[in-house]
């Protein structure tokens, strides 16, 4: 009772999705702070031994709904199970990924349970809340922190009165952290037939093409990222040359993606992925707030820009003012000369 729940998504290869592992890692920390248990809910098909993947992240209680009708994900059967489990277990907090699945499912649950839901959080904290009017104090509330208004403001949202407090969390903003390699929780099997009925299956998937993601900007340790200032798709090739040499992935700003210079999967920023590499090399990126929101947590930032007053220079550790088509080849040259 009053524990913290994470809805775990099952990925295409039947493993637990990255976003859910990230949420469990954060959830474990929050549960420790709240002195409650961490519970996970996995709904899918052929979930044998799935607990081996989950327990090391500190899961105390694992609820499993395993049935051939439950993968791939469709809204209604998952919603029926989640609603009933939450009604029964009465958690204080429930977290979902801000993924296509989480953003499809969580609002349905919140609507049914009539509780507050905050979308797309980039941070979660525990703290107190005092209601303005009544001065009533609420202890140990979940602070749901998210960018709002097109990224121009950061809002802290709370749901003081309703339970559970629900949030969807952006992929890539929480770090994956093993809690204990040999941590053991308990498994509770869900009797699926008790919760499902025929009308949950009125939406049928008749065709499906989902690709395993090939481009992985999110987990890259070094990112060479290009903006509109790179100028063309062809000009991006020197970014790839540098990236290949130093073991980096190539990222892009929204302007570069919109202009067709780079694939959508490479987009860093509010409408793309959030990254925190040890080095971020921003090439021809002016640095709109929406972009900075997705990369300012990088350990080191190098900005290469013609304009020495580009906004991104304010958060850069190194700024190189000049033409990137000259600078990047020099970086390649001096890297080759000085490495080893």
């Amino acid at each position: 009772m009053n524990n913290l729940f994470v809805y775990c998504e099952v990925a295409e290869d039947n493993s637990i999705a990255d976003i859910s592992i990230e949420l469990l890692s954060k959830g474990r920390r929050l549960a420790n702070e709240l002195n409650c248990k961490l519970e996970a809910l996995v709904i899918g098909n052929k979930l044998n031994k799935i607990e081996e993947q989950l327990f090391p992240y500190g899961v105390d209680i694992l609820h499993i709904a395993d049935d051939k009708r439950l993968f791939p994900y469709t809204t209604l059967p998952h919603a029926s199970i989640v609603k009933e489990i939450l009604k029964k277990e009465k958690p204080q907090i429930v977290l979902f990924g801000a993924s296509p699945i989480g953003r499809d499912l969580a609002p349905r649950i919140a609507s049914s349970l009539r509780c507050g839901l905050t979308a797309d959080c980039t941070n979660l904290k525990i703290g107190d809340y005092i209601e303005d009017k009544t001065k009533k104090q609420y202890k140990n509330i979940l602070y749901q922190i998210r960018p709002a208004f097109g990224g121009n403001i950061i809002a802290t949202i709370v749901n003081p009165k309703t339970r559970p407090q629900m949030a969807t969390v952006r992929e890539g903003v929480m770090k994956k952290e093993i809690f204990l390699d040999n941590y053991k929780g308990i498994v509770k099997k869900i009797d699926v037939d008790k919760y499902l009925n025929d009308c949950d299956f009125v939406v049928k998937i008749i065709e499906r093409h989902i690709e395993q993601q090939k481009i992985n900007v999110k987990d890259a340790q070094i990112i060479v990222s290009g903006g509109y200032g790179v100028g063309s798709k062809e000009n991006f090739s020197i970014l790839f040359d540098l990236a290949k040499l130093i073991g980096a992935e190539v990222g892009a700003s929204r302007a570069a993606v919109d202009a067709g210079f780079a694939e959508k999967e490479r987009q860093v920023g509010q409408s793309g992925v959030t990254v925190h590499p040890k080095l971020y090399i921003a090439c021809g990126i002016s640095g709109a707030v929406q972009h900075r929101a997705g990369m300012e947590q990088s350990v080191k930032i190098i900005s290469i820009n013609i304009d020495k007053n580009a906004p991104i220079n304010k958060i850069a550790d190194y700024t190189i003012t000049g033409n990137l088509s000259k600078i990047i080849p020099k970086m390649i040259k001096y890297y080759k000369e000085n490495s080893k």
């Binding site: 809204t75 209604l76 296509p100 953003r103 499809d104 499912l105 609002p107 349905r108 919140a110 609507s111 009539r114 507050g116 905050t118 979308a119 797309d120 960018p147 208004f149 097109g150 121009n152 403001i153 950061i154 809002a155 802290t156 949202i157 709370v158 749901n159 009165k161 309703t162 009125v202 939406v203 049928k204 998937i205 008749i206 065709e207 499906r208 093409h209 690709e211 395993q212 993601q213 130093i246 040890k278 080095l279 707030v289 900075r292 080191k300 190098i302 304010k314 958060i315 850069a316 550790d317 190194y318 700024t319 190189i320 003012t321 600078i327 020099k330 970086m331 001096y334 890297y335 000085n338």
Partner: protein, 290 residues
């Protein structure tokens, strides 16, 4: 046969074109400084709705929007493109609604229009980017939902077939009706205004708008009653006032911070050979790369 499509759309501040004066000194949003526009993905939904209407005999599109009186603009814009009728849900008592309270009010308005076949809207509005109101409304209506729709492939009396665009691929799904569909920005762009429809509906107004007119529209409206855009207040919906506006909204904003850049101590380099050489050495020596 009658076939009713209910389009949900919203007028939003244009957050993509935020100017200098968009934020007040206290860090709150200066809404008056931002132009009000038709939420972009709702335009995609409008296009899909019109296409369904064109393919299903006897289909009609009714738009529902919730907002201040000036939101009547998006109803007119939709009339110019092919919807049949629009309702503006407007009342100060809705102010401060979060997505839960909004979906409650909208679901009650939709119930007034029952029976219907399809509820369709954009995936999300650019002022909140939550994508919650669609699914929350579907739950309240107890109907299935299809989110991230890119194209309606087929509609007949019994079934609808929809192509969904997901992060890493596509899905084609079928559903019974009634169903709620939310449309992605990857769907086809909305068509331009139709000049005949502009002529037909350019004098469409709500009662609030008519009050501010200097000339009388009474005669015109008696002849062409379809020009009147109906406004619904809280009293027109069968509401529980506790579930509306601020009191019906469980989420509260605790704090708003303007996004301010924290100036870092940065090292300014030029593009000369020496500077770049020193930088690469420094990165290699500190094990950041290499």
């Amino acid at each position: 046969m009658s076939f009713k499509i209910i389009l949900l759309a919203k007028q939003v501040p244009d957050t993509k074109n935020v100017g200098k004066d968009a934020m007040k000194k206290d860090g709150t949003v200066n809404r008056s400084a931002l132009p009000a526009i038709f939420n972009p993905e709702d335009m995609n939904a409008l296009e899909q709705a019109i296409r369904i209407k064109e393919s299903v005999e006897g289909a009609e599109i009714i738009l529902l929007t919730m907002g201040p009186p000036r939101a009547a603009n998006i109803i007119r814009e939709s009339l110019y493109r092919g919807i049949d009728k629009g309702y503006l849900i407007t009342d100060r008592r809705f102010a401060g609604s979060d997505t839960l309270a909004t979906s409650y009010a909208i679901s009650l308005a939709i119930k007034k229009l029952e029976p219907f076949n399809i509820v369709i809207s954009g995936r999300q509005a650019i002022d909140g980017d939550t994508a919650q109101v669609g699914p929350q409304t579907a739950e309240k209506l107890n109907i299935p939902q299809i989110t991230y729709a890119e194209k309606i492939l087929n509609v007949n009396n019994k079934q609808i077939t929809v192509k969904r665009r997901l992060e890493r691929g596509i899905e084609i799904v079928t559903s019974t009706m009634p169903v709620l569909i939310t449309v992605n920005s990857s769907a086809p762009k909305c068509r331009a205004r139709n000049s005949k429809l502009v002529m037909k509906f350019k004098h469409s107004n709500t009662d609030s708008e008519l009050q501010n007119k200097t000339i009388s529209y009474t005669e015109l409206y008696d002849k062409r009653p379809y020009l009147k855009i109906k406004e619904w207040s809280v009293d027109d919906l069968n509401t529980n006032p506790e579930r509306l506006g601020l009191s019906g909204s469980p989420t509260k904003v605790k704090k708003i911070e303007n996004v301010v850049l924290q100036q870092k101590q940065s090292k300014a380099l030029s593009d000369n050979n020496n500077d770049i050489q020193e930088l690469m050495k420094e990165l290699i020596n500190s094990h950041i790369i290499g």
